[in-house]
């Protein structure tokens, strides 16, 4: 099993996955620095969860759409959104993905297949069903993937959406990033049955539980789900077990509701470190080349800051434009 899986990932994909994850991590770290300097006005960090969107987006094509949450920088980067434009957005600049109007919780770039982060928990789930409906009606062979947290499993709209996707056999994959907490609330408290995957039962669709701190596992699990969606066999629910290393929002201290032991345990399964070993084990890379990749990531991140810093704020008239396509 392990073997067949290993052989399933080709070198360029594996390298892409590592590069994506390390870029994300460095981007997020940079964001924190920007926030500490008062330039970036708060965000939800994705550090620790990089493997989830990376493993999935490895299978996605240009016309495919992903949708995210309040915590979506990793989704954006995995789907290829431009780092410069992302950082500019986070600093509220006119050159941002959203012209500075959306900010951290709403980054979107539909041309890249990022149909938007969304600040309301659960809110994007039916929107993803709609994108899949378009694919079906237009017979485009595209799929859509929606990411949401363990907290979103409390929202009824998830079940409405799973039901719609199932009865209409839509090409959508529901991906729950179970990082064990919604704000300060552990899922063991808030989720009856304590399994997201099981919630697919009764909706006539597979629900699977995956080690979301392993990009290799994520890759293989999502490959099946996306193939299934793309070939018209309907939706899948993936529960990816993961962990956010930082607080819920900004510098919010997580030790008020979780333990050092727990943090240490999950950090010991870090997705980037494990991928590093994988690359070396597979002979895809070596320490030196990995350092180069790390450096490349850092350069891209630094450039994004430079780009954002040099970009202007939007004109004040922008407050009033694009509320509508046309309004008179």
């Amino acid at each position: 099993m392990t073997n067949s899986k290993k052989t399933g990932i080709d070198k360029s994909t594996a390298l892409w996955m590592y590069q994506t994850m390390i870029t994300t991590r460095k981007f997020e770290a940079e964001c924190r620095r920007q926030a500490d300097q008062g330039k970036l006005r708060g965000m939800h960090s994705s550090i620790g969860q990089e493997a989830v969107p990376t493993g999935i987006c490895a299978h996605l094509k240009d016309g495919d759409q992903i949708l995210g949450t309040h915590r979506s920088h990793h989704h954006c980067i995995a789907k290829g959104v431009n780092l410069n434009e992302m950082m500019a957005e986070l600093l509220g600049k006119a050159t941002g993905t959203n012209k500075g109007k959306g900010g951290t919780m709403h980054i979107a770039d539909i041309n890249k297949g990022m149909l938007g982060a969304n600040g309301v928990v659960g809110s994007n789930i039916p929107v993803a069903v709609g994108a899949a409906l378009t694919a079906k009606l237009k017979k485009s062979q595209n799929v859509s993937v929606v990411f949401f947290g363990d907290g979103a499993v409390g929202q009824g709209v998830l079940y409405e959406s799973m039901n719609l996707a199932s009865i209409w056999k839509l090409p959508v994959v529901f991906v729950c990033e179970n990082n064990r907490y919604a704000e300060a609330t552990p899922f063991e408290y808030s989720m009856a049955g304590q399994s997201v995957a099981k919630r697919a039962t009764g909706f006539d669709m597979p629900g699977i539980n995956v080690d979301g701190q392993s990009v290799v596992e994520m890759y293989h699990a999502s490959k099946i789900a996306i193939q299934k969606a793309r070939s018209g066999e309907g939706p899948t629910l993936i529960e990816a077990m993961t962990y956010r290393y930082q607080g819920h929002f900004g510098a919010d201290p997580p030790l008020t509701y979780r333990t050092e032991e727990e943090e240490a345990l999950y950090k010991s399964k870090d997705c980037i470190r494990r991928m590093k070993s994988y690359l070396i084990d597979m002979g895809y890379s070596d320490e030196e080349k990995i350092l180069e990749m790390d450096e490349k990531a850092q350069i891209a991140v630094s450039e994004s800051v430079k780009f954002a810093d040099e970009s202007p704020f939007p004109n004040l008239e922008e407050l009033h434009t694009e509320v509508y396509v046309k309004y008179e």
Partner: protein, 355 residues
């Protein structure tokens, strides 16, 4: 104008909406419609019974036979789910029409309407368009009590990013429905139940469905423009949807009393045709706003404030609002009739201004 464009006839409100949808679906493959029992009996093709209902008001009757199950799509009772799906479909290139059966159900799906449909274009820096049309039904007068009889267009008008229209008869229903489907922004079309032929007091429905001449061909009534069906110089009565009918009836009676009455049919709440309102009130110097929505923070307040602020020096009398009272819609017939704005109340208000 082609020959066929001149062909007109009297049809019902329901038929007018149906024609608009059919035309747009036939001419634009991206248009589709979904909602509960929008066909009815879905999945029963084997029984030849897909079109059991054609929507609870029969607005979509016959369409599944013409366009198939994919484009005339029955849904489970999952308003948040399928309106959200409409938003996603709109964002990715379709032009969905989605049915929210009664406006009072907005509370189960409001998030999809106000946080996604209304905001995505702006939040995403203009890079995504959401050309969704939401149709819904409003109004009391059908013994449906507090949850099924509301008007509520005021709360949607509150939200930047949404357009709101409310036709008053078959002619405006067809033209506004056409414009809504073609519009690139999210538009909510509020159809009054009494105008769609639902009533438990037959005299209330008298003539409603057949009050206007409707061209057979497709046409648009521009969103954002009011109509002035009756011109006059003494007083302006402003109606919206069903209350336009009330205004017209009141105007008739007031004319018999010797007054020259102007009636504005608002049609669009967002954008609102401020210009037509101000112009009329500057001329007549008196205004009565007639609205069935709850009175607080409402379209009636909005119009009253607009007139007060923009035509202050022209007014001979303060604006008057005839609205539903600050109470819920009761079931019992006499109470329900008392809830509704009536011709009598409008005439009384106008006379007391003009006397």
């Amino acid at each position: 104008m082609t020959q066929s464009q001149e062909k007109s006839r009297q049809i019902t409100y329901v038929q007018a909406v149906n024609e608009a949808i059919e035309y747009e679906m036939a001419n634009d493959p991206d248009v589709f419609i979904m909602g509960e029992d929008i066909a009815g009996g879905a999945g029963r093709a084997n029984l030849g019974k897909q079109d059991a209902w054609g929507g609870v008001f029969r607005l979509t009757k016959g369409l599944i036979g013409k366009f198939g199950e994919d484009r005339v799509r029955d849904t489970p009772i999952s308003e948040a789910g399928f309106i959200g799906a409409g938003v996603g479909a709109a964002a990715t290139g379709m032009r969905p029409i989605v049915d929210l059966m009664f406006v009072g159900f907005f509370g189960v799906c409001g998030d999809q309407i106000v946080n996604n449909a209304a905001k995505m274009h702006y939040m995403f820096g203009g890079k995504v368009k959401i050309p969704i049309t939401i149709i819904t039904s409003t109004g009391a007068g059908t013994a449906s009590a507090a949850q099924h009889s509301e008007t509520l267009y005021s709360i949607f008008t509150h939200f930047p990013g949404l357009k709101c229209v409310s036709p008053s008869d078959p002619y405006t229903a067809k033209g506004l429905m056409t414009a809504a489907i073609r519009d690139d922004d999210p538009v909510i079309v509020f159809n009054h139940k009494l105008l769609m032929g639902r009533t438990v007091k037959p005299e209330m429905g008298k003539g409603i469905g057949f009050g206007s001449i409707v061209p057979e061909d497709s046409y648009e009534i521009p969103i954002g423009k009011a109509l002035v069906p009756i011109e006059g110089t003494d007083i302006t009565l402003i109606g919206i949807s069903y209350t336009t009918l009330v205004c017209k009836e009141a105007a008739e009676e007031l004319q018999q009393k010797g007054y020259s009455v102007e009636v504005i049919d608002l049609l669009s709440l967002s954008p609102m045709d401020n210009e037509t309102i101000i112009k009329s009130v500057m001329k007549t110097r008196n205004v009565v706003i007639v609205d069935e929505d709850y009175p607080r923070c409402s379209i009636a307040s909005d119009i009253s404030a607009l007139v007060a602020e923009e035509a202050f020096d022209y007014l001979d009398s303060p604006p008057v609002r005839i609205t539903a009272p600050h109470t819920l819609v009761p079931y019992s017939l006499p109470l329900e009739m008392e809830f509704l704005p009536s011709k009598e109340k409008v005439v009384e208000a106008a006379v007391s201004i003009l006397e």
